[in-house]
């Protein structure tokens, strides 16, 4: 059984309850709670979703509506590292398509997919707010500006060497 099928750890449940208690209504903590789960497990499994819903006094369907609405919440497993390439207009002008093509070729996956060894997931992302330094990408939680294929190759090596 994978950890995503096991109950949420007690400390995380407690953290979510505290969060919910600090809000005007528990459901206000929905996105924050899901992000906490994802920070620990990298994605939000059905089992975890249902548990969080219960803690926030929401129906599972209601919370799933929230979880599936947002770009940064993952309802499917992702790799140990996530490459998010900005595909919005300034990065498009500055050649982001070449970057994404390069990654696809090197990793032999398409956008939205994960490498078979589970190291890297490739996702598109909207404008990251660093448009003057396009093309831009997010490597896990770190922004990289003026990205070129050489920089991508370095990040791939880093991702393969450092499991999370």
């Amino acid at each position: 059984m994978s950890t995503a099928d096991l109950p949420l750890p007690d400390d995380l449940r407690q953290e979510i309850l505290t969060l919910a208690g600090s809000e005007h209504r528990p459901r206000a903590a929905s996105v924050s709670a899901l992000r906490l789960v994802q920070a620990r497990f990298r994605w939000i499994s059905d089992r975890h979703l249902a548990e969080v819903a219960q803690l926030l006094n929401m129906s599972t369907a209601d919370l799933d509506g929230v979880a599936t609405y947002f770009n940064l919440l993952f309802r499917k497993p992702v790799g140990q590292h996530v490459f998010m390439i900005c595909d919005s207009v300034c990065c498009w002008i500055m050649g982001c398509k070449d970057l994404s093509d390069h990654l696809c070729k090197k990793l032999n996956i398409r956008p939205g997919e994960t490498t078979p060894d589970g190291a890297i997931t490739l996702l598109p992302i909207v404008c990251l707010g660093h448009c003057d330094r396009a093309p831009v990408m997010l490597f896990d939680e770190t922004v990289h500006e003026d990205v070129d294929t050489a920089a991508l190759d370095r990040l791939i090596a880093e991702a393969q060497e450092t499991p999370r």
Binding site: V31, S32, R35, M58, N71, I93, C127, G129, C131, D132
Partner: protein
């Protein structure tokens, strides 16, 4: 660094190092506005100062800030739940000004919120921050914690009886969350769908309580207006509008970036002086003056001040003031396809014309780029631009925003559209 009296927003910003802490912020002129307002001014006097400064919202719509605040019910903060929300969602492609302000001087936003909170007598402050701004999150949280520790936030600030604190909310990421009412829905833990505009949020907003939503840059101006006075602020602008503005330029220029300049700085100066002009081998064709949802302005029309009303005279909109440049070696049809892909993807799906119309527009542009487009497709695009572009046909301003570059682009780049028909696809073969 710039002087506080001429470039108030960025005077304390040095992105090479960490932002000022509470002490450094105070030594450089911070907290003066808070002392002045909380100790010597009534909330209504603060609102009146902001009204007289003629500050207009920097989030895109340009709504007069003082007017917005004056419609909030007057009950004291201690008597009624009221919210002051900083809109830090900043997901408009091309825009990065609020990030600079938050990473560079988070306490300026904290103090602006404190003063805005005092003016409208808010009981709670919230920052709605886009989820990808990890560094801004860290710096804001640090600034809030330090300010609270030193008594600038929390109970009974400066012994005046006024209490105010700030919560930092990190979004799950959707462009529509930046729409002020969708933002409130998101804060209530639901799918971020916009709300009807009546009653206004200032009367019934978050959890039904009076709520003011202001852009980060708008709020960052407040401490300076209170400290130096509305007349000083008015004098900063060179044209019809008051204050300074964080302008930006991205695209194929020599020095893409951002600059705090007097409101009303000519567009040509931005591009040619501050951004250093086009890179060699490229010429300017047109630009989106204030983010992805503003109409194209032709390269021939850049002798115009970048203020709310002037830019409209050449068909543009100030928007966020962060310009995106189209050069002569980039396909305008491809650029429009990229833009409409963004808007189609980010539609909240609540109302049919936007939910179904935007993907249709995207498919039509796909076909033109791929060489399977027809004359009729161009007609269809014009029809969509007309229908979705009229305010009131869709539930919020997302769809009209999406149609702004399309409608203007269809008029401006008619030859390029035709070339995509006769040439069977994109003549520039620009990557999708």
């Amino acid at each position: 660094m710039n002087s506080l009296s001429e470039r108030p927003l960025t005077a304390m910003i040095d992105l090479a190092g960490p932002p000022p802490d509470c002490a450094a912020y105070g030594n450089a002129g911070g907290w003066q506005g808070t002392r002045k307002a909380l100790k010597t001014l009534t909330p209504d006097e603060v609102i009146s100062m902001v009204t007289r400064s003629r500050l207009r919202g920097r989030g895109g719509a340009g709504f007069p800030t003082g007017l917005k605040w004056s419609t909030v019910p007057k009950d004291p903060a201690s008597k009624r739940r009221k919210y002051l929300v900083a809109n830090a969602d900043e997901m408009e492609p091309g825009t990065f000004k609020d990030r600079i302000l938050m990473e560079g001087n988070p306490l300026q936003l904290v103090e602006g919120m404190l003063l805005a909170g005092y003016a409208i007598q808010a009981s709670h402050g919230i920052i709605f921050l886009r989820g990808e701004y990890f560094l801004a999150h860290q710096r804001l949280q640090h600034a809030i914690d330090e300010a609270r520790h030193l008594g600038w936030l929390g109970e009974n600030i400066l012994g005046t009886g006024f209490s105010f604190d700030i919560d930092l909310h990190s979004s799950g990421g959707r462009y529509i969350c930046g729409e002020a009412t969708a933002l409130l829905t998101a804060l209530e833990g639901s799918r971020a769908v916009p709300r009807g505009k009546l009653p206004p949020s200032q009367i019934s907003g978050l959890w039904g309580a009076p709520s003011v939503v202001n852009n980060v840059e708008t709020l960052c101006n407040i401490s300076h207006i209170v400290t130096h006075g509305p007349e000083w602020f008015d004098g900063l602008g060179t044209g019809a509008d008051s204050g300074t503005k964080l302008y930006g330029v991205s695209g194929r220029v020599c020095r893409p970036g951002f600059w705090e300049l007097p409101m009303g700085t000519p567009l040509r100066d931005l591009i040619e002086v501050h951004a250093g002009g086009m890179k060699s081998g490229y010429a300017l064709r047109a630009l989106l003056p204030g983010g992805a949802s503003t109409p194209f302005v032709d390269a021939a029309d850049i002798d115009i001040p970048m203020d709310y009303d002037s830019i409209k005279k050449v068909g543009g909109r100030l928007g966020t003031g962060m310009a995106i440049l189209l050069d002569d070696r980039t396909c305008p049809v491809g650029m429009l396809r990229n833009l409409e892909h963004f808007f189609a993807q980010e539609s909240c799906g609540w109302c049919t014309p936007c939910r179904d119309g935007l993907p249709w527009v995207e498919r039509l542009l796909d076909a033109l780029e791929d060489g399977t487009g027809t004359e009729d497709d161009i007609e269809q695009l014009m029809r969509h631009a007309r229908i979705l572009g009229s305010p009131g046909r869709t539930f919020c301003a997302h769809a009209p925003g999406a149609m702004a570059p399309l409608a203007s682009g269809l008029a401006l780049f008619r030859d390029d559209f035709t070339a995509h028909l006769t040439g069977h696809g994109c003549p520039l073969h620009h990557a999708a």
